[in-house]
């Protein structure tokens, strides 16, 4: 039986992190630097709400404001951490690769497996907006691995493109998981077909307005849909930008 939920923009968990006080060693930047985080799911103690969706545990919409603002070097294990840069430039220093610079359209998958550390900074004066997705892996203590790629919105216009998952051209991920993105500039009808009815899809509207599985979603609204054969998604007449995160439930 089909199931769904809607999470409106304003219903998301909201938090600001400053680089002084208890977070001084974790949050980088000058005292006036601030990280604004909107969380769709229960990022451990930060919010009451849905604890996750399928294998997703974090879906964070974060803005790093102020030169040098970000997260200082900190450890991870096991989690599959994905970052999709929407605006600004992300400097990503990690123990699995080199210093990486990511701009709009760029994204990475860090599979932390048996352990690693990373540091994420905005070194520019303008704001950095990143979508973070964390998912559980299908195996524990995998060899750590870092992959990065680019989504070319102009070339992919009005097409649904898989960024991460078991699709040729996409970044492989050690989980039954898929991230796709649709950037369009006109009204269109798309049919999204999950791999099976045991999969769910978390749909997040980065920009624009869409009708999806019978729900009207605006900017930063989102919905989860599961136990369906297909999801009909109709974009509005203006520009739209939508992320589809599919996970085994």
């Amino acid at each position: 039986m089909a199931h769904s939920f809607v999470l409106r923009d304003a219903e998301r968990g909201h938090q600001t992190l400053v680089s002084t006080g208890p977070n001084a060693s974790y949050v980088a930047g000058h005292p006036d630097g601030v990280i604004t985080r909107h969380s769709s799911f229960n990022f451990h103690e930060y919010q009451s709400g849905r604890p996750g969706f399928g294998k997703i545990r974090v879906f964070g919409d974060e803005v790093f404001s102020g030169v040098g603002c970000g997260y200082n070097m900190h450890p991870h294990h096991n989690f599959l951490i994905m970052a999709f840069v929407l605006e600004g430039r992300l400097t990503h220093i990690n123990t699995m690769g080199k210093i990486d610079e990511l701009e709009p359209g760029d994204y990475y998958l860090a599979s932390f497996g048996s352990g690693g550390k990373h540091c994420e900074l905005n070194l520019e004066a303008k704001d950095l907006n990143v979508i973070y997705v964390w998912a559980l892996p299908d195996r524990l203590m995998l060899p750590p691995r870092y992959s990065r790629a680019h989504f070319d919105a102009a070339a992919a216009r009005n097409r649904l493109v898989t960024l991460i998952g078991a699709t040729p051209g996409a970044v492989p991920i050690p989980q039954d998981f898929r991230v796709s993105r649709l950037v369009g500039d006109r009204a269109q009808r798309h049919t999204y077909r999950p791999a099976s009815r045991a999969h769910g899809v978390y749909i997040f509207v980065v920009a624009g307005e869409i009708g999806c599985a019978g729900m009207e979603l605006g900017r930063r609204d989102s919905a989860g849909v599961w136990d369906v054969d297909e999801i009909i998604c109709e974009t509005g007449p203006g520009p739209s930008d939508v992320l589809f995160v599919e996970t085994i439930m």
Binding site: F43, H44, F79, F112, L136, R139
Partner: protein
Amino acid sequence: MADEALKRFMCLGCGFLYDEQLGLPEHGIRPGTRWAEIPEDWVCPDCGTPKSGFEMVEIPYATDPLAAGSAE
């Protein structure tokens, strides 16, 4: 209790793993220590997330023979 399979718990703050079978001898927790036996004020040794911020996971190790064939 003694018959129950040993479980694994993952920190939702950073992904640190507590495996009941392995314990954390380097942190004074002997192998075989059940999650319930760990004090409620214990925190993740890597990131400080409280015990309540861990989730029980049923995920095989990458080195488990049954997991070796998983797709990546």
